[in-house]
């Protein structure tokens, strides 16, 4: 039983996230832990629900086991619905063909039957690996108002960083006149956030044409958007001025976590009007012990802290024993920092154990030198882990 929907969302969650190294050796990038009690995809899913979009397809490909488990029936995001809800869409074997998703556009094409069930007027295409809080309903209203075929969300980036993004040039009305993917000499600072709203019928026609082109890499940024522009379709840029971060690298993941801290944090999650939902365990409140000292940090349920925690983000159920010190670090769920250990400028993934008196990272190490301790890794007592070291799970 399917109901027509005005707009449904498709989240591209198949990315391997190879530049997160040890953090994505066992799971897809959207499933990486973030901010103490979230996984990266929680932000996109919560944005959908908070924007009134109740039908969401999640396109998975790389290491989907944990992501499938995590999303489950969608209950934590209120997406366990009778009409719509969240659906995991892995590649499948069809009668004519059996293909992995060859590109972002192909992934949507292969799921055109899923889309057709809801006959949506608009299709919202999202990435599952960005940290931001955004009301897609406002973007959709803009899309309708401007009469666009496609609207791309853009954010102003510093000129020196612009060559890392897809850059738009627009006319006075916000209509896109030029799109260059990672230009050497950027003509503008409006970067694509990888968030698209398409008129569904027009998109499906474009995807069909793209599939017929054997030279295409079936990618939105490389193929679909340039071809729409060359055909004179109406593409508009929707400017977003809130917090947005692509957490594709160890450095950017660490920075985005640190953005939760401070007197006036750039990434403010403590907002009841736009909650970020997540699937979490039934943990007791955090206990801050008699010998503990916690400063400028984000701490979540289930933690037991007896040592020193400074400028850090702690996940649920983390233990910091007496005499241990955690500074400028991200400690994910259930990790244990034993007595006398020092953790500085590091990301310690789920369930890792830092042995007594071990030293991980270095105070004020250069920014690029963030040590990463993979999920479940045991750093033995008294061991020293260099800044920038990468310890993979077994």
């Amino acid at each position: 039983m399917f109901k027509k929907k005005e707009c449904i969302a498709m989240i591209l969650a198949g990315g391997q996230g190879s530049r997160l190294y040890a953090l994505t050796s066992r799971l897809a990038k959207p499933a990486v832990s973030f901010g103490g009690k979230y996984r990266i995809i929680d932000f996109t899913l919560s944005n959908c629900v908070n924007s009134g979009i109740d039908t969401v397809g999640v396109l998975t490909q790389y290491q989907p086991l944990l992501l499938n488990d995590y999303i489950g029936n969608g209950l934590p995001w209120d997406l366990d619905r009778t009409f719509g809800g969240v659906k995991i869409l892995p590649p499948y074997q069809g009668r004519g063909s059996a293909d992995w998703y060859s590109g972002t556009a192909n992934a949507i094409w292969q799921n055109r039957d899923f889309i057709a069930r809801y006959s949506p007027d608009y299709l919202l295409v999202l990435s599952g690996d960005h940290i931001y809080r955004m009301n897609y309903a406002k973007m959709l209203a803009y899309h309708r108002r401007s009469g666009a075929d496609c609207t791309i969300a853009v954010i102003d980036v510093p000129l020196e960083e612009a060559s890392r993004f897809g850059i738009m040039s627009t006319d006075g009305d916000g209509r896109i006149v030029k799109f260059s993917e990672k230009p050497k000499v950027p003509e503008s600072t409006l970067a694509s956030m990888g968030i698209y709203i398409f008129n569904t019928r027009m998109l499906l026609d474009s995807l069909a044409a793209d599939e017929r082109d054997p030279t295409s890499s079936n990618d939105f940024g490389k193929n679909i958007i340039p071809s729409m522009l060359s055909q004179g379709k109406k593409l508009f840029a929707y400017r977003f001025d809130g917090y947005w971060k692509d957490v594709g690298t160890v450095r950017s993941l660490w920075e985005a976590n640190m953005d939760m801290l401070g007197e006036d944090p750039p990434l403010r999650l403590n907002d009841d009007s736009w909650r970020i939902y997540s699937r979490h365990e039934a943990a007791a409140p955090q206990y801050i012990g008699k010998t503990a000292s916690v400063s400028n940090s984000s701490v979540t349920e289930g933690c037991e802290i007896f040592g020193e925690v400074i400028n850090s983000v702690l996940g649920s159920g983390v233990t910091v024993e007496a005499g241990a010190s955690v500074r400028d670090s991200v400690i994910m769920s259930r990790a244990v920092i034993r007595a006398g250990a020092t953790v500085d400028r590091a990301i310690v993934d789920d369930g890792a154990v830092i042995g007594a008196r071990a030293v991980v990272g270095r105070r004020n190490a250069p920014d690029c030198d963030i040590a990463v301790i993979g999920a479940g890794v045991r750093v033995v007592d008294d061991e020293a882990v260099e800044p920038g070291a990468m310890m993979y799970p077994d």
């Binding site: 901010g35 103490g36 009690k37 209950l75 934590p76 939760m260 801290l261 401070g262 007197e263 944090p265 999650l269 403590n270 907002d271 009841d272 909650r275 970020i276 939902y277 997540s278 979490h280 365990e281 039934a282 943990a283 007791a284 409140p285 955090q286 206990y287 801050i288 012990g289 008699k290 010998t291 503990a292 000292s293 916690v294 400063s295 400028n296 940090s297 984000s298 701490v299 979540t300 349920e301 037991e304 983000v313 702690l314």
Partner: protein, 377 residues
Amino acid sequence: MKAAGLVFSHLHDDIVPELTKYRTMASVPFGGRYRLIDFTLSNMVNAGIDKVGIITNYNYRSLLDHIGTGKDWDLARRSGGIKLLSPFITAYNAGGVAGVYSTRLEAMLSSVNFISECSEDVVVCSDCDIICNIDLSQVIAYHLSSGADITLVTKRSGDVGNVTSRHSAVICDGDGRITDVHACTPDDGPDTAICTNIMVISRAYLLSVLGDAAAYGYTSFFRDIMSRNVGRANYRAFPLDGFYAIINSMAGYFECSMSLLDGSVRRELFGIEGRPVYTKVRNSAPSLFLPGSSVTNSLVADGCVIEGEVRNSVIFRGVRIARGTRVENSVIMQDGIIGGGCSLNCVVADKNAVVRDGRVLSGHSTMPFFIGKGIMV
């Protein structure tokens, strides 16, 4: 063996009138992120019970809000799950008391349809003034293997503290068979077993005694059913190991909250593998400890922003404590706002309380200073 659950949300409300002014005992906030009923429901769910009737009488709107569909306890089911047993008030009895009950036995009688429609062999009954993490499957197994009609879970009086005539003393022979049940008197020493308000009853037996109660107009479960039949029926006691607390006064609530700062209590309540305590998920952000804050020996739930100093306290979800403020030996319930330059000692602040800048408030551990729900000081 399948068991059904029967939860009494309303008994003992009168014991902490401050906290039950706007709610039932079941929905009294406790331990930073819980309501008292969470312990009872979690115990049942962790023992595989998936059909739970919750008896309510007055003031149960906050309980309805907390329970919702029951999905946070995995009790949103097509078959079974949570069944709210509210008073049966009709157009014909609304003005009187016919539909509303006060005692345990009267409440059971009003829920006789729920009990008779269950197919489970045993019914686990529990009140909501208790805090413990008990393996009910062991109690059920003991109940069945001993062929009991009723099994009362008991705790040594000396371990409970502050025992009054509201508690039932349970006297057993050497085999664990109950020989006497009576209201506690000062003569009952610290080694006397008292009923924890958790019991397992064979469903067929329960229906038969409820039939007697209806026929003879009985009103008290312990006096009219258990004391009267103790020589004939097979009543058993099951002593409870581990942490157990019963809320019996405001000071008791305060003391019990403070006991959570003891690591062994937290381990016995929250640290048992496979037996978590579930509650309504609120999706609060993690708590922020801002630069300059200082927190020691305290329990802090999610969604808090702490700039001041917190010692020996229980801080619920979404509380804000401003700079220059010192909160000691206190319980601040959800979404409380404590302004700057305050000093709080032995305070229990109910939900949404606001303490304005510069206030100095102090109670004593035997008589905490209470700030009512939504009150501004």
